[in-house]
């Protein structure tokens, strides 16, 4: 069997400071096949962005402690030196960030920021890199691309900036694209355009994509599979349709209940009571137990294992029936 594009086993990420150690990610395991798209759903602070950044070694180097195994495109990410990581970043795996305003360098032109990535990884000449930058701006459908090459980030709208960000990320045809809430900072209409663009590019370029979002609409639009994250763990994982229609874990049910969608006029919006746990200490049993309406004895001694009624869809909850 060939190795999947991404293989993560028992990934743990801790941030160590003098005052405290924050256990941001506590044992995440998953695979991603080539051309597959996975969406990681969760509240802020659930560890989804940290997981994503761990895939390309982008967490702050001095304070971060990693353990477990992370392989991306055949590279061992945990063991790689910073030099080696720099070669992998941008070429094998690249990332789109949440805030297109702050994620681009304000004093360099868009064209230069794309071209320098190409020059760095593919050793192209300045002229060839500029030509590639123009192609990329056309690929991400920026109107009057030629003129936009010489534009600075502040001269573009949010949507165009995010397109430019995507152009940078795709400039060296990565096998894996990571997207950290790529549409959160954008207007609703622009969000849809960006999502459609990403979906089309993923299909055309045959990339694997991992999305992080707290927006269920985004997940439904793009993902093949969805993973729900809570307190640094995947607590439910399954195909997008199955999970959206029939979430198994009480937290996932709560998350889906807390969104506004059509056909619920007059109904009450439900919220999940309580707040996520403080990650300075890892909770012993199910991390959601203190907020769960269905908590029972069996939840507390240890973290429930994944159980699922159908293959491919499973949750860490003792109440989920286990298929034979």
């Amino acid at each position: 069997m060939t190795e999947p594009l991404v293989r993560v086993r028992d990934l743990e990420v801790r941030f160590v400071t003098r005052d405290a150690t924050v256990h941001a990610v506590n044992g995440v395991s998953f695979d991603l096949a080539e051309r597959e798209s996975l969406c990681i759903l969760g509240e802020s602070g659930s560890g989804k962005s940290v997981t994503l950044r761990a895939l390309m070694g982008l967490n702050p180097p001095r304070r971060t402690k990693l353990s477990g195994a992370v392989r991306v495109g055949g590279h061992n990410i945990i063991a790689a030196s910073e030099r080696r990581m720099a070669d992998i970043r941008g070429s094998t795996v690249s990332m789109i960030f949440q805030e297109p305003m702050t994620a681009l360098d304000p004093v360099f032109t868009i064209g230069r920021q794309i071209a320098e990535t190409v020059m760095r990884h593919e050793g192209l000449s300045r002229a060839a890199a500029d030509a590639r930058a123009l192609e990329l701006l056309e690929l991400v459908q920026i109107p009057s691309a030629k003129r936009r090459l010489a534009a600075y980030p502040h001269e573009l709208s949010g949507g165009l900036r995010q397109r430019a960000m995507i152009a940078i990320a795709l400039s060296c045809r990565p096998k894996l694209l990571l997207a950290d809430e790529p549409t959160t900072a954008l207007d609703a209409t622009v969000q849809i355009q960006i999502l459609l663009l990403l979906r089309r590019l993923q299909q055309e370029m045959g990339m694997g994509v991992i999305f992080v979002t707290h927006d269920l609409g985004v997940a439904g639009e793009i993902a093949d599979r969805v993973a729900v994250m809570y307190a640094g763990k995947f607590i439910e994982e399954g195909p997008v349709r199955g999970l959206m229609r029939g979430p198994l874990h009480p937290y996932a049910q709560g998350l889906l209940g807390a969104t506004v969608h059509s056909g619920m006029r007059g109904e009450r919006l439900t919220t999940i009571p309580g707040a996520p746990p403080n990650l300075e200490r890892v909770p012993k049993g199910c991390a959601f137990a203190p907020r769960c309406a269905f908590v029972e004895e069996a939840c507390l001694p240890e973290v429930p294992a994944f159980r699922g009624p159908v293959p491919g869809h499973a949750a860490r909850c003792v109440r989920v029936p286990q298929a034979a």
């Binding site: 390309m56 982008l58 030099r83 720099a86 070669d87 992998i88 970043r89 941008g90 070429s91 690249s94 990332m95 960030f97 805030e99 702050t102 994620a103 681009l104 360098d105 304000p106 004093v107 360099f108 320098e116 990535t117 760095r120 990884h121 600075y152 502040h154 960000m165 940078i168």
Partner: protein, 317 residues
Amino acid sequence: MLLYLVRRVLYAIPIALAVGLVCFMLVQIAPGDPINAIVPADAPQEVVEQVRRDYGLDKPLPVQFGLWLMKVVQGDLGRSLATGRPVTADLVSAVGNTLTLALVAAGIGFVMGSLLGTVAAVFRGSLLDKAAIGLAAAGVSVPHYWLGMVLVVLFSVTLNWLPAMGAGPGGSGAWAWDWEHAKFLVLPAVTLSVIPMGIVTRTVRGVVAELLNQDFVTTLRGKGLRRGGIALHVLKNAAPSVLAVMGLQLGYLMGGSILVETVFSWPGTGFLLNSAIFQRDLPVLQGTILVLAIFFVALNLVVDLVQTALDPRIRRA
């Protein structure tokens, strides 16, 4: 960009005029009649009136200002009351000396400050950082006339390596770029460089540390850029604010430090000002202040232009 440049230069003209007016008025407001400095205290009234007329001091103020301005524009700053020599000639040589000292001191201070500040920002919280901050704080707080004297005691008196005062061998005022002259420059330049070094260190540290925390630096790492590539981006982002501080510091140094130039008997503008004040030598005082103020205006203009060239976000205004 060219239009912007022309506009900025035009803006500088009214500022320069206002500076001239303030210089002129300064003397009028100051207590004491300059006539007293020229004529003996027991001179008869007619003589006083005669001198007053000769110097044009009997005309109404606006006329005096106009006449003064006309001459200034032609490079004539009048004659020194104390020596009778043309102010312009004395000022040119003093400004030249101060400029030499200021540029060398600024060079030392800016290079050291940039290095210390960058190291401190990159290794924030480490021992290196604390050492750099300590040095910067010391640089800003140590009174530099005291530092000058300590250096003289150490390097001139005790070790006898460097001359203690003057701007050249045999008390010559003529500057030349050789070791014989440069020896005289070392101690005052080092003394003067300490304050800009401290201020630049703190500025660079603050700016670079803040930049390193910005999202776009993560993007740059995410693109696979190495340290050198990232440094280039940080440098261009840091340059405008750091240059603004450097420009201001250079302005202060151009003004010449009265204290340091006096400690080292350096024949610059500070020295000139000092003696002009004690001798109530108004034309020298006026001329010196005017030239220094114009320097400041010009320097600010240059900093503004460089900033605009480096940061595309300013150009919109």
